[in-house]
Amino acid sequence: MSAGHHHPIYRPADTPVHRLPPQCKLAAVVAFAVFVVATPRERFWAFAVDALLLAAVAAAARVPAGAIVRRMAVEVPFVLFALAIPLIGTGERVQVLGLSLSAPGLWAAWNILAKATLGVVASILLAATTEPRMMLLGAERLRLPRLLVQIATFMLRYLDVILDQMRRMRVARESRGFVARDLRQAPVLAKSAGALFIRSYERGERVHLAMLSRGYTGEMPTIRDISATGRDWAMAGMLPCLAAVTALLAWSTT
């Protein structure tokens, strides 16, 4: 019943991008995002170059454009915010299709849209080529706080278990005639959420007992360690390095 929820964002394949150690990819994406943000917004061509770089990575990883576009839905709230800025912005006005828009607002909107989109696409490519589990191992290798990585690891393991429990509770509610129509039903849902929290908390206690029973002393043993070679780093480093060069050129041509 609870079998088989895949994480559809990850696209299994065997490409050079998939094979790169996760810590290299994580570091590369973060560095890429930093250099994109550091690029002056007036240099349109620089962002086109960055986009081309990502397109090259996508091609190498065999991630189709359609999959990336569908995943870009997470960006929608930012897009809405960015679109609002030219309308509510102050300063010099320009006429576009009969609308009076703020010129600094347009620049700000473009800045947010371009940089956020590049960052989001880079993250989508990372997620599409790296298993969630590997991502966490990579984070551990990059010396992220171990406690945070452990919490994320447990979340990864128990998300489906908890969602399943939530689904069973919903079925139980609806089997007894409950329909969530408006706000008046909110107390029932709030109590369900409370019950789910308590159940999850109790499960946490049982899991802790199970861990103690197998010799846990407060420190997770490192079972899988993925090492990266200089070549891996060089390959992953190509993306942020090219983005850095682009940013530098963009600055020097002002």
């Binding site: 609870s2 079998a3 088989g4 929820h5 969630p132 589990r133 966490l136 690891t153 447990f154 990864l156 393991r157 128990y158 489906d160 278990v161 499960r203 049982r206 899991v207 007992l209 199970a210 861990m211 103690l212 029973s213 197998r214 010799g215 846990y216 002393t217 043993p221 490192t222 079972i223 899988r224």
Partner: protein
Amino acid sequence: MTSGSPSLTVSRLAYAYPDGTQALYGVDLTIERGERVALLGPNGAGKTTLVMHLNGILTAGHGTVEVAGLPVRADTLREIRRRVGLVFQDPDDQLFMPTVREDVAFGPANLGLRGAELDRRVRDALERVGMLDAIDRPPHHLSFGQRRRVAVATVLAMEPEILVLDEPSSNLDPASRRELAEILKSLDVTVLMVTHDLPYALELCERSLVMSEGVIAADGPTRALLADERLLAAHRLELPYGFAVPAQPG
């Protein structure tokens, strides 16, 4: 190791929960090496409380627990937890790592094993429960019966002196139940099995203990205990409908 000592010796074990509820009133039992013993009893008899003492999750209020001659004490906990392999009832509690491999490796890695030796232990344990094929799968992609088998493997990987199973047949479909029985029979390890499933106890364990109101109320061959209707009735134990155990194997 200390050969000669029984796998498990519990003597005069008493325990009250912090809220004052007395759960155990002086439990005495001995399990010899290689035995498979069932621990039977109604809900609330103290079975789980007893099990929690076997690997030191609860510490005795009074009395002692010894595993292969080693007393359960704060300074022996590490070795005790290696010697006592506890399999919990809900495999989702037992399997907390993202993949089967990492989960089975968790125990031996805590014992300090690494590299090839760790890998050998993991493969060995999964092989013994017939789950080697699932080594790189996440636990939530497995069926319930498969998860229970992997849960058994997670403690086998620690090469325990005694395997303690809490309700091993619960929630299993008949085929998984039989497969698990075959696996348990094939293991060369002392087993203590807590269960309400009396036919399962009869199939797997020569000897049974009946626990009731915090003490061991009966101890003897499973067949003889299950044939004693008066004993069963006195301790809220019942055979499934249509099931009768002749005192002598027919």
